[in-house]
């Protein structure tokens, strides 16, 4: 059921990537995993997606580079962007929102269920979108 949408997940940790794929595919999304930042950049240039979820720390390019590439690409310029990170207070959600219009900056560890809710709200006209964002950003 790929009518739900096509997602690009950028995550270098094998286990986390596997779980995100499992969870989101169960919800009916088509999931592509990029294991390195460099792979992510290639995929963004080559294919259209409906939403990109990216980790911050990755080999090759990092999450910020991915955001930049998305906003600069022909195919994926306007899609929702979600970033998550294990870093502490070094990343500023406000700065990233201002620069790349990311929808949410999430801290690890996070709940996969809440992530699904967020993705769903971003891809549909969901009045609970703000709550979904807040649930993950506050975590």
């Amino acid at each position: 059921m790929s009518e739900q949408g096509s997602l690009l997940i950028c995550e270098d940790n094998f286990s986390m990537a596997a779980l995100l794929r499992f969870t989101l595919e169960q919800e009916g999304y088509q999931v592509t995993i990029a294991r390195t930042g460099t792979d992510a950049l290639k995929l963004i240039e080559a294919n259209p997606y409906d939403l990109v979820v990216t980790d911050f720390q990755m080999p090759g390019a990092n999450g910020e580079d991915v955001c930049r590439a998305v906003r600069a690409s022909e195919l994926n310029r306007g899609i929702p962007l979600v970033m998550y990170t294990a870093k502490g207070f070094e990343l500023s959600a406000d700065d990233l929102r201002a620069q790349y219009q990311i929808a949410a900056l999430i801290n690890k560890p996070f709940s996969p269920r809440a992530m699904v809710r967020l993705v769903r709200s971003l891809l549909t006209e969901d009045s609970n979108r703000c709550e979904a964002v807040a649930a993950l950003e506050g975590a």
């Binding site: 940790n13 286990s15 986390m16 596997a18 779980l19 995100l20 499992f22 969870t23 169960q26 720390q57 080999p59 294990a86 870093k87 502490g88 690890k108 560890p109 996070f110 709940s111 996969p112 269920r113």
Partner: protein, 483 residues
């Protein structure tokens, strides 16, 4: 002292007494003689009439002389003093006479002499103290490890110490005097001299700057502080500069920051997996049994990974506190080697590389801390595996002579640059090489292994060629007596 008599004052004696007496006598004699002459008698004694007062005057003069000799002496000495420009020490002499004036004079001479002695003493003392002050101050400045300088209103150095001379590559502190400090500091301590010089000269008030020059072995980070010294009215503003080499401090700070970044990541990544998998298992319907098993295994291995990192952290905090203790026992080395190798095999099997081991047929028993030694070796071999790309090889070999047992770990991995080599055993140190940064590591393993070697009385050494491979040797003495 001869008995002091209290005669009448000089004026009374000279004028009133002697002069009057003399004149009186003269008058009497002349009158008597004239009287006699008038009477016509004793005319042959006219000569006597003239002689008598004359003799009287002579006698009087003699006594007068005696009477004023002290005063004459004083007057002479005073005249001499007036004619000398310099100190009258040798000129003033005491007068030995039973006279109050003499006594007074002597007291005066004595006092003058004492005063002069005291003055001379005072001067010698202050000179000596002055020298002592300067001497001590110079020693203190010379002993300081921070560079110190004082500059005048032109920015030229009027005072500098040895430490500053070394920092600025001058032969001695004296060479720096008169030179403009901003130029010197910018030239020797800044990566961009022009820019830094401008920063220093932007204003004349107090300030603090940090500069960085060189890199790797040649890295120097300096803190420069400028204060305006409070001035006496009348003398120009003086500025005090202190320059401190904070390279080690900076490196330590940066290594620790690097560690915190790594630590946060290393803790949160397994935690994220644990939470995600556990939540999915608990809440998700429609996961088949096989899938559930897979998920549980992931939880298990992530927990192990987390536990290992927490152990690393504890080791580090022990090392920081200097509290690593060895629990030494007689250990069968062959058994220990087996356990160690079985620890690392899974890690080696995960990667397509060759892992070979060679142990001698007989290994001595050793008096060591089994767990720490095993951990140290696991760390070395694990590093070999981590930092060797696919298709490479890691070689673990043990040798022994009468004194020591040598554990060799050789690999054909990415190697260590000459720049990084001296820092390899520092806590938190990780090479800035991209290939190293991409591999997760805390920067603690080698520090720990090195500490274990040291505590056993042994050593850890490394040889390496960048891009060719590395060779670590851990040597532990066999004898119980060492350490």
């Amino acid at each position: 002292m001869p008995p002091i008599t209290q005669p009448d004052s000089l004026l009374r004696r000279l004028v009133d007494q002697h002069l009057m007496f003399g004149l009186g006598c003269v008058f009497l004699c002349v009158t008597f003689s004239l009287g006699l002459a008038w009477h016509g008698t004793f005319t042959e004694h006219v000569a006597a009439a003239v002689l008598a007062p004359f003799l009287l005057l002579l006698v009087g003069a003699f006594f007068l002389r005696q009477s004023v000799s002290v005063h004459a002496d004083i007057e002479d000495q005073l005249r001499e003093v007036a004619s000398f420009d310099a100190a009258p020490d040798s000129v003033l002499k005491p007068i030995h006479a039973p006279d109050a004036a003499a006594a007074g004079w002597n007291w005066l001479v004595e006092t003058v002499r004492e005063r002069r002695v005291l003055a001379a003493l005072e001067q010698r003392l202050s000179e000596a103290l002055g020298k002592a002050d300067h001497g001590e101050l110079a020693l203190v400045l010379g002993a300081l490890t921070d560079g110190v300088a004082v500059t005048n209103s032109e920015g030229e150095m009027t005072l500098a110490n040895g430490a500053l001379a070394s920092l600025l590559n001058a032969g001695s502190a004296d060479e720096l005097l008169g030179r403009p400090i901003a130029d010197c500091l910018a030239e020797h301590l800044a990566a961009q001299p022009q820019l830094f010089r401008e920063q220093l000269l932007a204003h004349t008030g107090p300030g603090t700057w940090e500069t960085r020059a060189g890199s790797g072995d040649q890295l120097g980070v300096y803190r420069i502080q400028r204060t305006v010294l409070s001035t006496d009215p009348g003398s120009a503003d003086a500025t005090l500069w202190t320059i401190r080499d904070i390279t080690q401090q900076k490196l330590a700070e940066e290594a620790r920051d690097q560690f915190l970044v790594t630590a946060t990541h290393e803790l949160r990544t397994p935690l994220a997996n644990l939470k995600a998998y556990a939540e999915t298992l608990a809440l998700h319907e429609g996961i088949d049994v096989e899938q559930q098993k897979v998920f549980c295994n992931v939880i298990n291995s992530e927990a192990t990974r987390l536990a290992r990192f927490v152990d690393d952290l504890l080791d580090v905090s022990q090392m920081e506190a200097g509290a690593v203790r060895l629990a030494r026992h007689e250990v069968d080395l062959a058994r220990l080697m087996e356990e160690t190798i079985s620890h690392v095999r899974p890690q080696a099997d995960q990667k397509p590389l060759t892992f070979e081991t060679r142990l001698p047929p007989k290994l001595p028993a050793m008096f060591v801390d089994k767990d720490k030694l095993s951990a140290a070796l696991v760390n070395l071999i694990g590093n070999g595996i981590k930092y060797t790309p696919k298709g490479g090889s890691v070689f673990f070999r043990v040798e022994a002579d009468e004194k020591n047992v040598y554990f060799h770990v050789e690999d054909t991995g990415i190697g260590i640059s000459a720049e990084d080599l001296p820092n390899m055993f520092q806590k938190f140190y990780r090479s800035s090489d991209v290939r190293v940064q991409e591999i997760t590591g805390s920067g603690l393993g080698l520090a720990f292994t090195h500490e274990v070697a040291r505590l056993h009385g042994g050593s850890l050494t490394v040889e390496s060629v960048l891009n060719r491979g590395s060779h670590f040797t851990l040597s532990i003495p066999i004898s119980r007596e060492v350490v």
